[in-house]
Each structure stands twice: as C-alpha cells, then as structure tokens.
C-alpha cells in the first residue's frame, strides 16, 4: 500500500505548492489526480517518485519511507524523455542493466511486442512519432515491473485519437501485473475511463478537495449513461474546487460521503 501522510511542499521561493495531502492507495488500484493548473499535482508525483523531497509529511510504500527514487516506483513524464543516443530497444532495457544480457534481451523483446513496436526495435528515438515514443516510455517504465507507476499527464501532448488508443493500451498493460497506477490528468474523460478513484485537488495551496469513487466495471463503455454520470460528477467537483467561495471539505471524510451529489 502506498500511504501519503500530510505531505507538504513549500518551494524555496516560498510557493506553498502542496499542503497536508493525505491518501492511502491500495496495491493495484488506479487513481487519477485532477485539478486546476498549478495545484501541486506534479509536485505530489515528484515527491512520491522521490525526485523531490517533501518539506514535511511522509510517503511510505509498504511501510518503507520514500525519500529518493525507489526500485518499486516508476514514473512516466509528460514528454517521453527517451535517451536519443540509445535505440528503442536499449531505451526500453535502460532500467535492466543489472540483468544478464540474455534475460534483458528477452524482457525487452516481450515489452516491444506488448507495445507493438517490435519492428522499431533498432530505430532511433528521433524516428518515432509522438505516440510511439510515449509507448516506448511506458514500456521502459513497466519493464522493471514496478509496484507503483506514476504518470504525469502522459498523454496530454497527443491527439485525441492516439490518446484513446494509449489509454486502452495502458489498461491492457496494467492487467498484466496490476501495478498501482497514479495518473495526473487534465482530461475528465481519461480520469473516468482509467481510474477506480479520482482525487480532485484545489490550488493555493495545493490540497486535496474531493475523492470520487468510479464504481464501474471494466472494460468501460465511454458512451454509457453511467459513464456520463461519473464524468459529470467529476466535472462538477472540479468546478467547485476552482470556486473560491466553496469552503474546503474535510479531507478526512470517508470516500462514501464524497458522493455528495
């Protein structure tokens, strides 16, 4: 279980990017984080990834405190961040340097097949389309089999069509080993398609505003009325989060009560 306990982050310039964020995320759960620009979503993810340290509060994974990057936690950024001097295959195998070459090759080959890029194995990153590059980034993060995968707006730079494709693809890959997914997104549709639970944040300081359980089976039908309902409730909550006249809800409320509509 990934436990966030009163995680706060104040940047050296005095910006209070994150204030007392608490949440418990179960192994294998998919959580979407949504909220206005600048409400601390990336800050939160970077703290969980161990890339930045929280000013106060703790992040623990299975009772182990996270203060620096951890083998069980992977992250995918908004840009693919492939290493331009490595072939696609070598990029995917980047995190497997400790394995014997044969085993590494086999894992990379399997990952390439899973993201349907086998024929691009020897291509340079510059030869990939945006969607292909992001698929390589997903494969690179998944191939060491992390227990937690953090995704910071992974599909926001892609067109709607490619985005849908990759969302389905991500769910496919998730089903293989069922890691915990924590996904920052601006796209309500994406949140409802993917998540078991949506956490809504509000800015200044960045904090948790609302939690919405998405009680929908998988695979989800994007056109069902129920799906639309969930989308609407996320949207409403998002609107209220940006409305300064709405007071903070008590973030310690049980998830059941979050369905306030």
């Amino acid at each position: 279980m990934l436990a966030l306990h009163r995680v706060s982050k104040t940047y050296p310039n005095g910006v209070e990017a994150l204030a007392r964020f608490s949440a418990e995320i179960h192994q294998g759960e998919i959580v979407a984080i949504i909220g206005g620009s600048g409400c601390g979503k990336s800050t939160l993810l970077r703290a969980i990834a161990g890339l930045d340290r929280a000013s106060s509060g703790t992040v623990t994974l299975d009772d182990e405190a996270i203060a620096s990057p951890h083998a069980k936690i992977g992250i995918i950024f908004q840009e693919p961040r492939l290493l331009p001097w490595l072939s696609v295959a070598d990029n995917i195998g980047f995190g497997l340097a400790d394995l014997p070459a044969a085993e590494r090759r086999e894992k990379v080959a399997r990952a390439l097949e899973r993201v349907r890029l086998t024929e691009k194995a020897q291509a340079w990153p510059r030869e990939l389309s945006g969607g292909q590059a992001q698929r390589v980034a997903i494969a690179r993060a998944l191939v060491p089999q992390p227990e937690v995968l953090l995704l910071d707006e992974p599909f926001s730079a892609l067109d709607a069509f490619t985005r849908r494709d990759l969302q389905d693809h991500l769910l496919d890959l998730w089903a293989d080993t069922r890691p915990t997914l924590m996904l920052v997104t601006h796209d309500v549709d994406e949140a409802v398609v993917l998540a078991d639970r949506v956490l809504v944040m509000r800015p200044r300081p960045g904090r948790l505003f609302d939690r919405i359980e998405i009680n929908l089976g998988r695979p989800r039908d994007r056109n069902s009325p129920l799906f639309e309902n969930f989308k609407r409730s996320v949207l409403t909550s998002l609107d209220r989060s940006l409305d300064r006249s709405v007071p903070d809800r008590d973030a310690t409320q049980g998830p059941g009560q979050a369905m306030w509509w």
Partner: protein, 281 residues
Amino acid sequence: MISDAPVLQQSSEPAETAAAPSRIVRYARPVLGVLLPLTLALGWELVVWVGWSNGRLVPPPSRVFANITELARSGELVRHITATLWRVALGFAFGVVAGTLLGAISGYWSLARRLLDPTVQALRAIPSLAWVPLFILWLGIFETSKIALIAVGVFFPVYLGVMGAILAVDRKIVEVGRTFRLSGPAMIRRILLPAVLPAYVVSLRVGLGLGWMFVVAAELIGASEGLGYLLLDGQQLGKPAQILAAIVIFAILGKLTDWLIEVAAAPFLRWQDAFGRAKGA
C-alpha cells in the same frame, strides 16, 4: 548543368529522382566544392602562361606544385611535415587532456567552477601570443615552449566546450537516470558522457584548428624545421612558391586531421538528428 537541376530535384521530390541522377548528384556534389578554387587556379596558370603576368610574386600552381615535388624528392618535405605534425600532436594532446579534465571538473562540480572558472576566463582574455616571450624565457627557445603555446591554444576551446556541454545537459534526461537510481559513475557513463559527446567533438575540432594556427605562430618565432620554418625561409629568401607550397600543405594537413576527428566520432554520433546528414552532405 549536371549540378543544379538534379540537386533541386532531389531535395524537393526524392521519390521522382531515379537511381541514375541521384548517383550523379552524389559524385557531383564534392566536385561543386572544388569548382571555384580550380577555376581560379587554372585561370591564373593561364594568365601567367599567356604572359600577362610574370607570376614572380604570385607563382602559378604549376610552380608551387614543382616546388612541393622538389621538396619531397630531397626528403626535406617529410622532415618538415613530421616536425610540425609532432608539435601539433603533442600540443593538442596536452591541451585536450588539460581542457577536458578542468572543463569536466568545473562543469560537474559547481564549487570548483566558482573557484576555477573566473581565473580561466581571465587567462582566456589574454591574447595567447602574449605568452610567447614568457614561455621562451621559462621553457627555452626549443620544442617545449612551442608545444606549450599550442597546448594553450587548444586548451581554451576544449575547456569551454566541455564545461558548457555538461552545464547544458538536459535536466529532464538526468532525471530519467535518477528514477532508475543510477550511481554517480553510472550517471556519468550512461547519461552525461553520451549527452556531452556531440559538443565535445565540436570543441575538439575547434581546438585542433587553433592548434594549427598556433603551430604556425610558434614556428615563425624561431625554428630550424617545420612548415612554419618553410614559410619564414621562403619570405627571407624571396621564394613565394615555397611559401605557397607550405600554405597548401598546411591546408591539406588541417583538413585531413579535422576529417580524422570527424570520422572517428561518427560511429558514436549516428543517433543525432543532424541537419547536414538529412541533406546528404
């Protein structure tokens, strides 16, 4: 006629260029580059041959070429070339080692940069030839002072190139290394080195260019052999053909050594999104 039409064709519509024209283009392209100097050389040869000029101060190519073969036959040429090459090689080696080490330290370690960089920058502001009298006093008139001067010339571009390249490494890519928990040495080997390599190769080539420049300066100041000595000797004895011969050889050697660096680095830089390569240069 051979030249411009197919070039245009290939850059705009590669699909329409059949195999034959594109082959012509491939061979025609280097030829384009030598067209201008060749025309000028032949033109001058003709002017002297017809008698419009006696070519005493600006000897025609044939006389320069004759001078080179004469020097080659007597074994003088090899001796001078060896002396110059040896100086450039040693000076380049010392300059590159020092520049790379100090540049890497300043780039990687900000405390060292604060300590070191202002001094290096101040030294860089001194025109390097101003060191010559001091070097001669300290190191004597012979090889050591010449090599030191060349090394100084090579040092600065390499130092700046390495430091700048390290400072410019994309933080986002370094973060990828961090998320995979690379140790310090692994981070250097797997992220920093490859990221820095393209800029490093450029700085080596700039450094080499300066090395050739400074070898001329060093040999003009006082030498008994070397291509620079040929220049000076030609001036003092009034042999412009010999001066031009030395210049031509300098040009060839400079281009050749630069090309060697380029070729040696090419296999490591194939991943680059090079503009020049896309155009088939």
